[in-house]
């Protein structure tokens, strides 16, 4: 059984407009997205800005309400549970945020930040809590005395580690990482990525890894879903996506990745042009009559794409 299952998940935001601000039909930001994540794997969600990646993540976390669909965690529908049991359940799902600067409360010291989930769910004595926090802090590679420091005294990478420590405090099964490194410099990025990989292996975490950087996704993930305008357009293993992209949008994304070899510049440019042209020509192939991206079709056991 998959650890997390999304079934036709739809998230809508109301749009304001018109005379006397009547509510006009809401816009689906995430439109009937379904995928599954299995125990222990790292699932990547890729797409351009505004395609609905974060919204999907937030829907799983219960920060947005669903307009339609189900989210099953270990087979239980998170949105059908009572508030209390859902709260207990959410303990097993934790999130790492994109911006290490705003995801930590600047008014709290590291101790209080990391202890927050512990205080909510576990009744620890002060000593136990301190011990636990120190353990976590050391686990993420920070000094023990840093628990008295405030977020602004840390670099971006260190902050992201604090965020990870907080997420790990309750020993979750599923970790959702929403662009955890896109605000960081290359060198720091490497640090966090390495670290996340270690943690994932050590805790046998299941991770939903969201990013727009195909290089990073490739480095981190086992399976990848490509999102476009609120819909999933292709899903498959890393090899499926990078070696055998079937959807033109995926191809386009892959082609847009900067080439690190100066020699291949012109080649790459040519390739991009080609794909762009194709894309423009064949655009309507990927949409149904109402202009909606069509459903995924199975290509192989691991590979699905929104193709006719």
């Amino acid at each position: 059984m998959p650890l997390l299952q999304l079934h036709d998940v739809t998230v809508q935001f109301p749009e304001k407009g018109g005379f006397l601000k009547r509510t006009i039909p809401p816009r689906s930001v995430v439109d009937q997205v379904s995928f599954q994540i299995f125990q222990g794997e790292v699932y990547g969600l890729v797409g351009e800005s505004g395609c609905g990646k974060s919204t999907t993540a937030r829907a799983i976390m219960g920060l947005n309400s669903l307009a339609n669909g189900q989210i099953l965690f270990q087979g239980d529908d998170l949105y059908q549970m009572s508030r209390a049991s859902r709260k207990l359940r959410m303990k097993d799902i934790q999130m790492i945020f994109q911006d290490p600067y705003s995801s930590l409360n600047p008014r709290k010291n590291v101790w209080n930040i990391i202890a927050e989930p512990l205080r909510n769910f576990e009744n620890l004595s002060k000593e136990e809590e301190l011990a636990k926090v120190q353990e976590l802090v050391e686990r993420v590679g920070l000094n023990a005395e840093s628990i008295y420091q405030y977020p602004h005294q840390f670099s971006g990478g260190q902050r992201q580690r604090i965020g990870i420590a907080r997420a790990l405090a309750l020993r979750p099964q599923l970790l959702i990482a929403d662009e955890p490194v896109s605000a960081l410099d290359v060198s720091v990025q490497a640090q966090v990525l390495n670290f996340m990989k270690d943690i994932q292996e050590e805790f046998e975490l299941t991770v939903l890894f969201i990013s727009h950087d195909l290089g990073i996704v490739r480095h981190m993930c086992d399976r990848i879903g490509i999102m476009y305008k609120g819909r999933l357009v292709e899903e498959g293993t890393v090899e499926d996506i990078y070696e055998r992209p079937s959807h033109l949008y995926t191809k386009r994304l892959v082609a847009a990745m900067p080439e690190l070899n100066p020699e291949k510049r012109s080649e790459k440019v040519k390739q991009r042009r080609q794909i762009n042209e194709q894309y423009e020509l064949a655009a309507d192939q990927f949409f149904d009559s109402s202009g909606r991206i069509i459903e995924l079709r199975k290509i192989s056991d691991t590979h699905r794409a929104a193709l006719k």
Binding site: P117, Y148, Y150
Partner: protein, 299 residues
Amino acid sequence: MELTNEAMRQAKMGNQSFHSAIWREIRHDRMALVSLIVLVCIVGIAYISPFFLSIDRVTRIDLSSIYLAPSAVHWLGTDDGGRDVFGQLLLGARNSFTIGVCVTLLASLYGLTIGLIAGFYGGIVDQIICRVLDFLMILPSLMIIIVFVVMVPNYSVFNFILIMSIFAWFGKARLIRSRGLAERELDYIHASKTLGTPDWKIMLFEMLPNLSSLIIVNMTLTLAGNIGLETGLTFLGFGLPSGTPSLGTLIALAKNPDIVQNKWWVWLPAALLILVIMLCINYIGQAVKRASDARQRIA
């Protein structure tokens, strides 16, 4: 990793809280520092004055000595009831300041509660609160305060504070709401939600501390405004009960041109005192404001 107690303590001390930021900012701004000292002196003297000044004596009418010019006995002369202006000034400063502080605190409490709720929940709750605030903001509050003052049957300082504070919180609520709305979109609030922290805890322990600098800045700045408003209302005759010494009572005597011209000691010290108090609060407020915004800090 073994940690010495010393290292722990230093790490603890190394953090800089908002308070120390304010203090540093004030220390580096000469005007603010002077203001703070002056204000502390004024308020300090005013508040400890009952220990060396008998209120009864200061407020006792002595018709044979009205409008005496400053002398060794009456440092700042006497007022329309032959009362010592210096003593009145101290009592007045104390009353005015107390009222200003009380009004500010009360108004902040209202504003904070409403603003936080609107800011935290957003959506429909915010919409409703906003509409109500929109309406309240357009009330001609000075006029309505006056109407209230006239209306209240059992008029006392307490009632006055209540009335003033009822009309002083709308702006605050708005301010806190809008910052709250911005704050609620920040990831640390999301984080707290995903960590299972209950809403009220998030509001009080996550959001509020981050708004605290805003609130403190707003409070220091409106404190001056509230003291000014109290004085103004007293000037118009709708402020403090007239036997209660207040800076406004003394300045209100300046309605009479003879006093303005020939009996400056009655109103001028009070006017200057209020000016100094308000200036001081303002300078401190500005320093506090800078402290709240790292980009503006001098220190």
